[in-house]
């Protein structure tokens, strides 16, 4: 039982990683006042670029670089539309998601001719799991050993990075000048403007950070968790990340918890399939599959209450009186 739990938590970590990256990405963007339903597209774009880069150059790190570049470029398109041209954030996000869904397949067909897939990655062109020191030695120590060697050890570097990004984000948002301005610009851009700071510049920078984090999420999908790009492989993770962001009320630690919850429910669902419940019989796959969604709704209805976002979110900044 304990071991099952550990294995489930282990899977939770793997499954949550892209959600954590993406939700934190959304956090930077949305705390700066830019709604980002384009997370999905950025993840997908990065997943493709990272896999393509890794396949061509034989290095996961070079792949990661390309993934981040792709995702940041998409973030800049979003910025150009929403910040520079005061476009609707949602429409821009939908546009980016649509374009990326088509473009990744088109490009990979043109470049690799493998029907929208990149070559399978192996060796250096993938992020492989790292074993933490003493993991093997400790493996047999009861409880601790299992936790350390199974749960904590044996993930790839991006998983650790994702978890590390949470305190880093907390620190950036609450303890640095950039964070202060970023939060301010999402609450009241007029205040920032009259303080002599460029609203657009802050928002662009927030979007760059958002792009980098989505880049990590995408690269994780295609070069760490999987070994190559497949069309539509982001499979709604961007939307789930957005849900986690709102669920976590735009704050780093609660957002992490929301991501872990989603990941955990997913892991539970995977393990619950085919389980026969006495008296009811085998639970239909679909019933288990919807578990994370139903639970999310129930939690939202019961415990979380109203999620109030940054005040200026989604509203283009124009120099008018509010």
């Amino acid at each position: 039982m304990f071991e099952t739990l550990i294995l489930m938590l282990d899977a939770t970590m793997r499954v949550s990683t892209p959600l954590i990256f993406a939700a934190l990405a959304g956090l930077y963007s949305e705390r700066a006042g830019i709604v980002d339903i384009g997370l999905e597209g950025k993840i997908l774009g990065s997943a493709f670029a990272a896999a393509a880069g890794a396949a061509v150059f034989g290095s996961a790190w070079i792949g990661l670089f390309f993934g981040i570049m792709a995702s940041v470029s998409l973030a800049m398109v979003h910025g150009f539309a929403c910040i520079t041209h005061r476009g609707d954030h949602i429409v821009s996000g939908v546009a980016i998601n649509t374009i990326v869904a088509g473009l990744t397949v088109t490009l990979s067909m043109n470049w690799f001719g493998m029907g929208g897939q990149t070559p399978t990655l192996s060796g250096d062109s993938r992020f492989l799991s790292v074993t933490l020191p003493f993991a093997d030695a400790l493996a047999n120590v009861p409880v601790i050993g299992l936790i350390y060697s199974e749960l904590l050890s044996g993930h790839n570097i991006l998983v650790y990075l994702a978890f590390a990004m949470v305190p880093v984000t907390y620190w950036v948002i609450y303890k640095t000048r950039f964070g202060l301005r970023l939060r301010a610009v999402g609450e009241n851009p007029h205040a920032v403007d009259t303080a002599g700071i460029s609203v657009a510049f802050i928002r662009y920078r927030a979007l760059i950070v958002c792009g980098i984090l989505c880049g990590l999420a995408g690269a994780y999908l295609s070069t760490a968790h999987n070994a190559g790009f497949l069309k539509d492989m982001s499979a709604g993770k961007g939307y789930m990340a957005l849900a986690a962001l709102i669920f976590g009320k735009w704050r780093p630690v609660p957002v992490l918890l929301a991501c872990l919850l989603f990941g955990f429910l997913d892991a539970v669902a995977i393990r619950m399939q085919g389980v026969v419940i006495p008296g009811i019989g085998e639970v239909p796959v679909q019933a288990i599959e919807v578990l994370p969604y139903v639970l999310t709704v129930l939690l939202l209805a019961g415990f979380i209450g109203k999620a109030i976002g940054p005040k200026a979110i989604g509203r283009p900044y124009v120099k008018e009186r509010a």
Partner: protein, 518 residues
């Protein structure tokens, strides 16, 4: 103007600014001597805020240039203005509401990539400023939890913290008690003594007369006059502003109070955090009288209005109105209260009174949209609504008299007229009216005051909430003072003077009374 012995702190030459088709500023010239307090007055929409925003680099002028201390400066952004030593307190505060005072003050002047150093330095500097100008404030308080007066203090501290030598204040006293306003003017005086130059925009001529050295008058985007304050008077200024003579007092006969139209007993109300915001308030409102509620804003007046009008549910107590008893268990919402012939002009027209995206004729039925007058069997009768709006616009002199203009595009004064007309024309028995003339210019104030008195004289009951003591004293027949959610005093308007009321509003009256005779 020619002998430039000492350079002006700020000098504007031929500033023009156009918004689309509107010429907001036209060939404006202005000279402000260093270390003086310079008033700028003008009707709503005259272009004052625009001009100040140009000086502060918020807007860029189309033509003209600005000199600071005799040197021409190129102000393209607020940062340039700040660098030139200019600070501004905006008409609508530019604060991040969920930030602490400290965070707001250092925003843009953090003094390093990490906040720690800047925060510590600012804490010390703010203490110094607080001492020097008596600008005390809890620097760790969250801004949205502060009363407006203190929020404004934050704005001033922001400017001073950045080393402003020229301070612009756009309608700073609109939200302050007389004591707070006095305090503000003492601060301005202290600043002036330190050599700071102050540009002050206000609609209140009394303040101009009391505190400025010079005054400039704007009308329709142009500078129409400059005066030395000592050599002019209110009447002249008012005439310069409006372009015609205006009366500055309210004509009002004796009140003839009769039946009790509304009585509230032990009203209490709790906010979403469960904090008691209204504490056992009881009052009676009679036909044919104006009951004024005085108080520093944030002392429960808004909650009282909201509970009486049915917008917020009450926590405890009961309201008797039109033969009905309303309690927490038998509540009525705003629409049901209207059916009891109660009308309500809210304190904040933008937040509550209007839907700025609506055309005027639609906004003019807000709250009465279910009435048979405006509805056919299924559809709303647009023609009736527009026709009625046209009539009212003519009667209330709303400018421009266009029912199809978006509400947002009327000036504050005209928006207010639309709201008041809507409520008064329903011929209510009871009118709740909050801040009727906030941000409204002199010409419009006169009209609004007349209408309120007229309503009273026709035997209706008026409950007036205002932070303008002048207004309370000019209009009310009876005055209730609120402090910290409770009623702390009631007096006949005849016995009220500014000092007494001011002290009661600060809940310091009884203490002082005890001291004075001693």
């Amino acid at each position: 103007m020619t002998n430039k012995t000492t350079p002006y702190a700020i000098e504007l030459q031929d500033i023009s600014k156009r918004f689309g088709a509107v010429q907001a500023n036209k060939d404006i010239c202005l000279q402000v001597p260093a270390g003086s307090i310079h008033g700028i007055i003008g009707e709503n929409g005259a272009g004052k805020s625009t001009l100040m925003s140009i000086i502060y680099g918020f807007y860029e002028a189309d033509t003209g240039h600005i000199e600071v201390d005799g040197k021409r400066v190129d102000i393209r952004s607020s940062q340039d203005a700040i660098n030139a030593g200019i600070g501004m307190v905006h008409q609508h505060f530019m604060l991040v509401e969920n930030f602490s005072v400290l965070e707001n003050v250092i925003l843009g002047a953090e003094g390093g990539a990490l906040l720690k150093g800047g925060v510590d330095a600012a804490r010390i500097e703010l203490q110094r400023l607080a001492k020097e100008y008596s600008l005390d404030i809890d620097v760790d308080a969250i801004v949205e939890e502060l009363p407006v007066g203190l929020q404004q203090r934050v704005e001033i501290l922001k400017a001073l913290y950045r080393g402003a030598r020229i301070l612009i204040l756009d309608e700073p006293t609109g939200v302050l008690t007389p004591q707070e306003a006095d305090h503000l003017f003492r601060i301005l005086k202290a600043l002036k003594d330190q050599g700071v130059t102050v540009l002050l925009i206000t609609h209140k001529l009394r303040e101009i007369m009391a505190s400025t050295d010079n005054v400039s008058v704007m009308r329709q985007g142009q500078m129409v006059a400059h005066r030395e304050t000592a050599k002019t008077d209110k009447e002249e200024l008012a005439e310069l502003m409006v372009g015609k003579k205006v009366r500055l007092t309210v004509d009002k006969g004796e009140a003839k109070p009769s039946d009790v139209f509304l009585s509230a007993r032990n009203l209490s109300q709790f906010d979403s955090q469960g904090v008691k915001r209204l504490k056992n308030v009881s009052l009676e409102l009679r036909a044919g009288e104006i009951l004024g509620i005085a108080g520093v804003s944030g002392n429960g007046q808004s909650e009282l209005l909201n509970v009486l009008s049915g917008i917020e549910p009450m926590g405890e107590g009961e309201i008797h109105i039109a033969g009905q008893v309303i309690t927490a268990n038998a509540p009525k919402n705003a629409a049901q209260m209207r059916e009891l012939k109660m009308a309500h002009v809210p304190e904040d027209r933008h937040k509550m009174g209007l839907v700025t995206g609506f055309e005027a004729y639609e906004a003019a039925v807000l709250g009465y949209h279910n009435s048979d007058t405006y509805n056919g069997k299924v559809l709303m009768d647009r023609k009736v609504m527009v026709d009625e709006c046209n009539e009212r616009m003519a009667a209330w002199d709303v400018r421009p008299p266009n029912p199809h203009l978006k509400t947002a595009n009327f000036s504050g004064g005209n928006q207010q007229k639309i709201v008041i007309a809507r409520e008064v024309e329903q011929n209510p028995d009871i009118l709740l009216i909050g801040q009727p003339t906030r941000g409204v210019d002199i010409g419009a104030i006169e009209n609004i005051h007349e209408q309120i008195v007229k309503l009273r004289d026709s035997g209706k009951a008026v409950l007036l909430v205002s932070v303008e003591l002048d207004e309370i004293m000019a209009l009310s027949d009876r005055i209730i003072v609120m402090f910290d959610g409770a009623v702390v005093g009631e007096l006949d308007a005849k016995d009220a003077d500014e000092r007494t009321l001011g002290l009661m509003m600060a809940n310091a009256y009884s203490e002082e009374k005890e001291e004075v005779p001693a």
